[in-house]
């Protein structure tokens, strides 16, 4: 597997929590500007995979490369790596004691040591781009769930990451707020952002993904272009999963 020209390469990734084996040999290569959707049942390892890539969870075995650099190597500066990899969480995890603008500029100011004025300008530009300019001085709890999640995306983008990880970012939202967040992600995809998206929104995955990976019991059981995965899945587990999704009216 060639490392050059790849935004992200994962080799033989294993992760367990105690006796519970969550990731059991993940291999994945993501090209630059590629959008990958991870689908699969709850507990199949989607979130853990994203958290491992962001080094929030230490990996047990296997290697992860970002832009050719092994980030799982010993002695690597995890703070420097995390600055290059943005992650957005299901529960937003905004900082409740800071204004929207401070949420967005905290990373640039503290981790990138950017001058406050410069960071603020970058933050305001991003907020404007995503229609949140008027919320800049509000506190997160004054915002709707959809707005909060868009702020969380902007917060990740303010670090200008090479790679953006999205962990079920619409799962905690009311149905009518899902679209505004998905539209933001669509815009990022069309802008060429490399993204790894764990999602239960199958219609969205079909629209946006260059490639869909079906995770089952800690492995990537099947991967391919969305038309094939959703149209003609080969694996029985994939077929079962998609049938249940269709029955639930989610596709």
């Amino acid at each position: 597997m060639s490392l050059t020209g790849r935004a992200l390469v994962i080799e033989g990734l294993h992760k367990s929590f105690g006796k519970l084996s969550v990731l059991r040999g993940i291999d994945l290569a993501v090209a630059e500007h590629e959008v990958i959707c991870l689908i699969g049942a709850s507990g199949s390892g989607k979130s853990t995979l994203l958290r491992c890539i962001n080094l929030i969870e230490p990996v047990d075995a296997g290697r992860i490369f970002v832009e050719g650099e092994e980030i799982t190597a010993r002695g690597v500066d995890v703070n420097r790596i995390r600055r290059r990899i943005g992650i957005v969480f299901q529960a937003f995890n905004l900082f409740p004691h800071m204004s929207v603008l401070d949420n967005v500029t905290l990373g640039p100011r503290k981790a990138l040591r950017m001058r406050p004025l410069e960071a603020e300008e970058r933050g305001r530009t991003l907020l404007r781009r995503f229609g949140l300019e008027e919320k800049a001085l509000d506190f997160p709890d004054r915002l709707s769930g959809g707005q909060q999640q868009r702020v969380a995306i902007v917060r990740a983008l303010a670090m200008e990451p090479d790679l953006l990880l999205l962990d079920e970012v619409t799962s905690a939202l009311d149905p009518e707020l899902v679209a505004e967040v998905l539209n933001v992600i669509r815009e990022l995809a069309s802008g060429g952002m490399t993204m790894l998206i764990a999602t239960h929104e199958m219609g969205f995955a079909r629209d946006i993904a260059d490639r869909v990976c079906f995770l089952d019991a800690g492995r990537i059981l099947e991967e391919g272009p969305p038309e094939r995965i959703f149209g003609a899945p080969r694996e029985e587990r994939t077929q079962q999963f998609l049938r249940r999704i269709v029955e639930a009216g989610r596709l």
Partner: protein, 296 residues
């Protein structure tokens, strides 16, 4: 109990009380009005304290007690010097409180450091908290106030005020560090994950994300400990600091009269009650804020 609910004008119940109006009785208004409640509270308070006061002042020993505890003459003569010596307590608790807030935070952060590398730090700070919470404060004051100067080492302070501040700081920092630690642990781990995912170091995450939220949550209990500290400043009288309690003792002994103690009690009440109300207000405000935050 009684099978049939009482009715207005109905029979007395088993204990001989008139039956209460039941569901079929004449409808009353939903409750007393606000003005009515205030009136009831006022009357019941006046009656209660009136009765208690009457019992006290008609008791056989009252004239003697009044003379020993509530002498206007002694009050007038001791009041200025007692209030003046309270300034020593104010200095004590203000200086100590600043040191306590800093030391308590440092201890709490050290105790929260994860990983095997920091085991010695965690062990030492845990031992410190355990010991200084276990030993009665007055003993710490005695041991430090008499013990350390007693060593006769050159260059170390001999003023009891110095050891009073040190002893109070050590005792209260142990409590306050636990308050801080509870606050730190109340901040959800996802907050640290979010901060670290931006590339902030552990220290930066603590400084900018965890601690601001933790400290805000524990301001009411911190104020509570501050009130405790104010009162415990009288303990340092045992090592010879002439503060309010010592001064009132001197006045009491000089007059063979306990009125100076009543004066001292009133001074503490005057200082503590506003702080207690402030604490209540902060707690109520936090509750309101959380409720507002819960609405989407």
């Amino acid at each position: 109990m009684s099978a049939s609910p009482g009715r207005p004008g109905g029979p007395l119940d088993q204990e001989g009380r008139p039956g209460l109006p039941g569901p079929s009785g004449p409808r009353r208004s939903d409750g007393p009005s606000a003005l009515g409640s205030t009136l009831v509270a006022l009357v019941s308070t006046v009656v209660f304290f009136g009765v208690v006061g009457w019992i006290v002042v008609t008791s056989p020993g009252w004239p003697a007690v009044q003379q020993s505890f509530f002498s206007g003459e002694v009050l007038a003569s001791s009041f200025p010097s007692i209030v003046r010596s309270f300034w020593v307590n104010v200095q004590l608790f203000l200086i100590a409180e600043v040191l306590i807030l800093v030391l308590g935070l440092v201890v709490a952060v050290f105790r929260s450091l994860p990983g095997p590398v920091f085991f010695p730090v965690r062990m030492l700070t845990t031992a410190y908290v355990d010991i200084f919470r276990a030993v009665p404060g007055v003993l710490v004051i005695y041991i430090l106030g008499f013990g350390i100067p007693g060593l006769g080492l050159p260059g170390i302070p001999v003023e009891p005020f110095f050891y009073a501040v040190v002893a109070l700081t050590l005792v209260y920092s142990a409590y306050v560090s636990e308050v801080y630690r509870a606050g730190i642990e109340s901040v959800h781990p996802s907050q640290e994950a979010a901060a670290r995912s931006l590339g902030l170091s552990r220290l930066q995450a603590l400084r900018h994300v965890i601690l601001p939220q933790a400290v805000r949550r524990v301001i009411p209990p911190l104020l509570n400990d501050f009130i405790g500290l104010q009162k415990d400043t009288v303990l340092v009288s045992y090592i010879g600091v002439v503060e309010i309690f010592r001064q009132s003792y001197i006045k009491q002994a000089g007059n063979f009269n306990f009125t100076p103690y009543i004066v001292t009690a009133l001074v503490f009440i005057a200082v503590t009650i506003p702080l207690a109300r402030l604490t209540d207000w902060l707690i109520a405000r936090d509750k309101g804020r959380q409720a507002a935050g819960g609405v989407r």
